[in-house]
Symmetry: C2
Subunit: 341 residues, 2 copies
């Protein structure tokens, strides 16, 4: 093999690059009838289940900078953002397709690391990279992933089926990924960060989808609706409410602002709650839970491995999305939705 | 609705753009459990069939130029190149996902036309656009399509299962798309082209996948292997032979050079056969057919609507890919494979 630090992808060519992907995938399970190297992948559907399909892309200088983030993290994140969509539907991932737009000058070592990140992120959830496409890009590095999962018919979670009176629960903490991005933009020294700061960077660069929890809630029929937080908590609340034909109220005091994000906001003179509500890319899940299912919901959450889950508000019959604090209400902050900047 | 000729996609925002996609899709069949607007699409697998998955992208200034090609043709071609991969596997398309990278300055009218092209190309083959992703692009317009089809297990066609002695058949004519691209690069006046020249432009800009023929051959078990001609006939022969562990010989005199492409090559002082063999993007199909299945193969071809199909050579036990002419042999010309330029 050539020395991958001096060699670019242009020097290797499409066939050679496909071979490098293939060795990284290794042997595939028997339900994959055709994989990388054929015109299309052929897989056996999961018996008795529905197919769940999603696609999401990371584009250089919009979603990541190569100067900031290691190639394997870029690859892994491209998988995680898709798996987060599957988690929000209650689905389990099975296969991923990888469509790359490659600047000819991309170092081969970066290509290898990126593919490695994709393969490992898929394997970590027992999914397999089965196909894709390589194209030349005249500008940005483009990483487009399609993920296919499965879910039983009666377990499909949607964003559009919430009902007035449902309580809203969010997993984990919010604002961390946006704070991590802000730290990178501010040029912080990684070595100088404390644990809380590093946790924000990690959340931005290496998010993990809440797959186990999504499946547990779906299996237990413990929520009426769910959505992931790709565009931030405020936007998720707004979209879930709007798709369900309801309004929503969020209790400012209940929002689980990530500690590192809160410190970062406060240091910059920003309102930590508003910043955390508006910040995107946390890839947590938001659930709508009827009050009578609260106990079952919390039992599922606890069985799914102790992911913290916080009640932050409720769906309302009156439309509109509001933030309650200090006894008053203000409009929920705007989200992060400008094409998922 | 705003006047779409003056408005850009940046002025509309993600939610507004998704709404514009939704109205273009219209009502969807009952086997689609969740579609555009949810975190992921949910579909019922085809009973008794396997899922076939493929993804392929068109990137501005690599695969198309906006100055040359109408947005609806770009959208339709992004679907057709994926359907061609399904055709090569013997599969029928069911759904497509559309992942767009949008320059903020893209006129809304172009966005609408592009989406219209995607939706119409899918509908024409009874497939449905069920989901996707919108991202901002810092440079090129990026159109990434994932297509999902179905095929019965015993009917899957592959590129890797050809055998020495199999005869090679190609559909339609070759070289037309490459000639069409060369005409655009040379700045020809569309109005001044004759019918043969216009046919080359059409093939480049508005290819159609050979879905019906692929399915017919697969159903009749009339071929041992198949591949589509995205990277040209020479490259397809080389890849099918290489994946099958065989060699191949192509008879130069038998290659069905497209008449318009032949005229264009001859005018430029090029060898029409070599140019046609090397030219990419014809999206015809190449089949390996055992001599004893020849009659069944030709019967399937004729029942599939009279697509011309030409015997151009054979697979050999000895590896290597050769072009025979004038009683001698020369290496098969290089293909078009530099990341599908």
């Amino acid at each position: 093999m050539p020395n991958t630090t001096d060699v670019t992808v242009a020097a290797i060519g499409e066939r050679g690059l496909i071979d490098r992907i293939r060795v990284r995938i290794g042997p595939t399970p028997a339900w994959i009838t055709a994989g990388v190297g054929e015109d299309a992948a052929v897989i056996e559907p999961e018996r008795g289940a529905l197919d769940v399909l999603t696609t999401d892309s990371l584009i250089e200088d919009v979603h990541f900078r190569r100067a900031w983030t290691a190639p394997d993290a870029i690859g892994a994140k491209a998988v995680a953002v898709n798996f987060s969509d599957l988690a929000a539907m209650g689905a389990a991932p099975r296969v991923v397709l990888l469509s790359l737009g490659l600047p000819p000058s991309l170092p081969l070592a970066d290509f290898d690391e990126l593919v490695g990140g994709v393969v490992r992120a898929a394997h970590a959830e027992r999914a397999v990279l089965v196909g894709g496409n390589l194209a030349r890009s005249p500008g940005p590095l483009i990483v487009d992933v399609t993920a296919v999962g499965s879910v039983r018919r009666r377990r499909v979670l949607r964003r559009s089926t919430g009902r007035p009176g449902d309580e809203l629960y969010v997993t984990g903490t919010v604002g961390a990924a946006a704070a991590g991005l802000a730290m990178l933009e501010a040029g912080v020294d990684r070595q100088a960060l404390d644990d809380r700061g590093r946790a924000c960077l990690d959340r931005y660069e290496r998010p993990l989808a809440r797959l186990r929890l999504g499946r547990a809630i779906a299996a237990n029929h413990a929520a009426t609706a769910a959505i992931d937080l790709s565009d931030g908590l405020a936007e998720a609340v707004r979209q879930l409410a709007s798709a369900s034909g309801t309004g929503a109220v969020v209790d400012a005091g209940a929002v689980p602002v990530d500690p590192g994000a809160g410190e970062w906001s406060a240091r910059g003179g920003q309102d930590p709650i508003v910043t955390a509500l508006a910040g995107g890319e946390d890839y947590e899940l938001l659930f709508a839970v009827p009050a009578r299912r609260r106990r079952a919901f919390l039992a599922s959450v606890s069985r799914a491995g102790g992911v913290p889950c916080t009640r932050i508000g409720r769906l309302t019959a009156e439309t509109g999305a509001w933030l309650e604090r200090n006894g008053g209400r203000e409009p929920l902050p705007a989200g992060f939705a400008h094409y998922r900047k």
